[in-house]
């Protein structure tokens, strides 16, 4: 394990996400079943698997966007604050600006928007007052990243974060990911070998 915290050294880890016997069924097919694991602070789990193996579904189930057919996902704290999610499927409101997105989400979470800081972090200062329908796909992906780390989540779930991003964007993802591993834990679904290197643990889903 790479990122050892003091707690780790004493054989004590802070579990931030616990999954017990998780299973999801679509129609008459089980995508995955009997998944049991814990993710602790300082760990990062990379979910691997071919297209259609249920990576995104697993991540959506972990995020609470889909109800599990079986099993339980437990995230410590209020998931609105302790969970950050960014995926390619997620869309932004076309009529709202970048700044409004951050403020809207902050109001819903009842947390500090940190708009200026986050917009600078994702490098979209020039586009802060543009409606998102005018942004490129890569820029939208950055906005989603900013929204996902807004509340300094304990668990950050990223679904194919590198897709649609340029080199600078990927660098941003990598730095966010490293920062997240320091702060809490990271769950990542990817097929990108460079992102795979972030893993302390891997989960392979067969098709």
């Amino acid at each position: 394990m790479t990122h050892q915290t003091v707690a780790d050294r004493f054989g004590y880890t802070r579990v931030v996400l616990r999954v017990e016997g998780l299973g999801k069924r679509f129609g008459d097919r089980w995508l995955f079943r009997e998944l049991t694991f814990e993710v602790s602070q300082g760990q990062s789990l990379v979910v691997l698997g071919p297209n259609g193996s249920g990576k995104s579904t697993l991540l959506r189930t972990l995020s609470g966007l889909l109800p599990p057919t079986e099993g339980k996902v437990h995230i410590s704290g209020d998931p609105r604050l302790s969970l950050g999610v960014s995926s390619i499927e997620m869309a932004l409101y076309p009529q709202l600006t970048v700044l409004e997105h951050l403020e809207f989400v902050a109001s819903l979470r009842d947390c500090d928007p940190r708009s200026d800081e986050l917009i600078a972090r994702i490098g979209l200062e020039h586009a802060r007052d543009q409606v998102t329908s005018k942004l490129s796909t890569g820029m939208k992906a950055r906005v989603k990243l900013a929204m996902s780390i807004q509340a300094n989540p304990k668990v950050l779930i990223l679904d194919e974060p590198g897709a649609a991003l340029d080199d600078k964007g990927r660098e941003l993802v990598a730095s966010i990911a490293r920062e997240q591993i320091q702060r809490g834990s990271l769950i990542l679904a990817t097929n990108d070998p460079s992102e795979r290197r972030l893993a302390t643990h891997e989960l392979f889903l067969a098709a």
Binding site: L65, R80, L83, M90, A91, E103, S107, D110
Partner: protein, 224 residues
Amino acid sequence: MNSSWQREIKAVFLKELNSELRTKSGLITASLFSVVTVVALAYAAYNTSLSGTIAAGLIWVSILFATIVSIPRIFLIEEELGTMDILRLTARPHSIFWGKSLFSLAQSIVTAFLLAGMFVAFVGQRIYDPTLFLVSIFGGSVCLSSAVTLCGSLVAQAANRSALAAAIAVPLLLPVVTMAVGATRGSLGAGFHQQAVNCALGLIAYAIASQAIGPGLFALVWKS
């Protein structure tokens, strides 16, 4: 209600309002619909005086359809754009329902008063009891908006949503319309006044009941 709920509900409401003000699609649809309906009705009723019952019926049928037209804008659009995930991740179901419901209430009140006002003006209908008239239009709008918000959330993920929205909303809305007609026609001088007042009271009770069960039901399905 503590401040975090207020902040969340306000955020949802303002988000809807902002999106609406920037596209104005709902506003344009509703006002066009109102003008066309009222002009058509006024044209049909030219030189005839409508009884209070008929006038109330026409007003409410128009409001009913104007409301149904607005169902897709509540949840379907979020589901179609794929923005529902943002809400599911960051908001609590009750604040979403209340925010959306308040917005659709604002919308249906504007539409209902626009329609009813234009109808009364164009057709030259006399209002005998303005208070009752206002109460009936307001109460009816509250009932319609909560039922419509709920139906919107139920059909949002369905395959043939737009057609389905009307099919499932109408049976839930018909009792409201019946009561609303009963109350409005009283204010227009038809039927017994006491009955109309009873209908208005029934409408208010129904509005409270439907606003009370709406968020709970929404919370059951919103993460399905």
